[in-house]
């Protein structure tokens, strides 16, 4: 690869560095309830898949907005009360809609969201394949025609001032 290609590759890889940064410090448990290790694991997983509606681009684990704090303690309380993960997700979507879930459920109005990228990929592959086949065909069928010397001369004459 040329130096320019290297530079471009590095540039494209930059966002991956951002994604690879260590996660922000976990918010502590706030409710006066003792969760065992397994429950704490569930708490951590759930607060990372629920969206803070005030800040919108953060999970309730990442946000310090009062609403995120409320929702975290709600998750914690409900785990302590023995509710299942699905119960807690349902509690959240019943109040805030599917938007609160970072991972949207597969349902009628989100089907395109889930299959769309694959359709685009298939389309792109089909186009690329067609182009490749066409290029191969034209290369095989039309031999390089010998240039017409008279036409060439005419072009050169036109260029001359």
């Amino acid at each position: 690869m040329s130096p320019r290609h290297w530079a471009l590759t590095l540039l494209l890889a930059l966002p991956m560095l951002a994604a690879a940064q260590p996660p922000a410090e976990e918010p502590p448990l706030t409710v006066q309830a003792t969760l065992d290790a397994g429950q704490q694991e569930r708490y951590r997983r759930l607060i990372h898949e629920l969206r803070c509606l005030v800040c919108q681009n953060q999970t309730i684990a990442d946000s310090n907005a009062p609403l995120a704090q409320d929702l975290r303690s709600q998750v914690e309380r409900q785990i302590a009360e023995g509710r299942s993960d699905d119960d807690i997700r349902h509690y959240m979507t019943a109040r805030y809609g599917d938007f609160v879930l970072y991972k949207p459920p597969v349902q009628r109005n989100t089907v395109f969201l889930w299959v769309g990228p694959f359709l685009l990929l298939l389309g792109a592959l089909a186009i690329a394949l067609r182009q490749l086949l066409r290029r191969r065909d034209t290369a095989a069928i039309t031999p390089a025609a010998a240039p017409d010397p008279q036409a060439l001369q005419k072009l050169l004459d036109e260029d001359r001032p």
């Binding site: 609403l67 409320d70 109040r95 809609g97 599917d98």
Partner: protein, 171 residues
């Protein structure tokens, strides 16, 4: 012909992006619209009895979540006072606030509320899916939520969305 398909795709994309520009990402559609008002049982400001979702039934009402610390509530307040003057019943839900601060705020700016429900802990706010005051729910006479205004109430939202919804309902 060669460029027709990409051009058409671009136009489609631009139309979608254009629609996207006109939408406010902060307005998350509420799953509560079309559902009965969530249950609560809370104290009232300056009145001894308690107030529940059943007290919201029987006539159309606006349920307005507000707080004395909320800047957007100042913005919508003159409009609420005006609507109350026209006979619209507005129930205030004083969200994460103290009695004293709420009382002072209402004295200073006027009180458009028929009742002020004290949601000091924000528990009703949580059950109503409130994520930032002010938010206003429109309830029909059956106590069903028919509309949710996110952010300050505006003249436009009132005349174009909410008033038509309430017309045909007996008040």
């Amino acid at each position: 012909m060669r460029f027709l398909i990409p051009a058409a795709l671009l136009v489609v994309l631009l139309v979608f992006l254009g629609i996207g520009l006109t939408r406010d990402p902060r307005e998350v559609p509420s799953p509560l619209v079309g559902k009965p008002a969530p249950a609560f049982d809370l104290a009232l400001l300056g009145e001894p009895q308690r107030y529940t979702q059943d007290d919201l039934k029987g006539r159309p009402v606006l349920v307005n979540f507000w707080a004395s610390w909320c800047a957007g509530c100042r913005v919508e307040h003159p409009l609420l006072v005006k609507l109350a003057g026209e006979g619209v019943e507005i129930i205030g839900m004083d969200y994460k606030d103290t009695d004293e601060a709420a009382r002072q705020w209402l004295q200073r700016h006027g009180n458009p509320y028929r009742r002020v429900v004290l949601d000091a802990q924000g528990t009703a706010g949580l059950d109503w899916g409130v994520y930032g005051v002010p938010e206003t729910f429109v309830l029909d006479a059956n106590g069903t939520i028919v509309y949710k205004q996110i952010g300050p109430m505006t003249e436009q939202a009132w005349t174009e969305k909410i008033r038509p919804l309430l017309q045909g309902q007996k008040s």
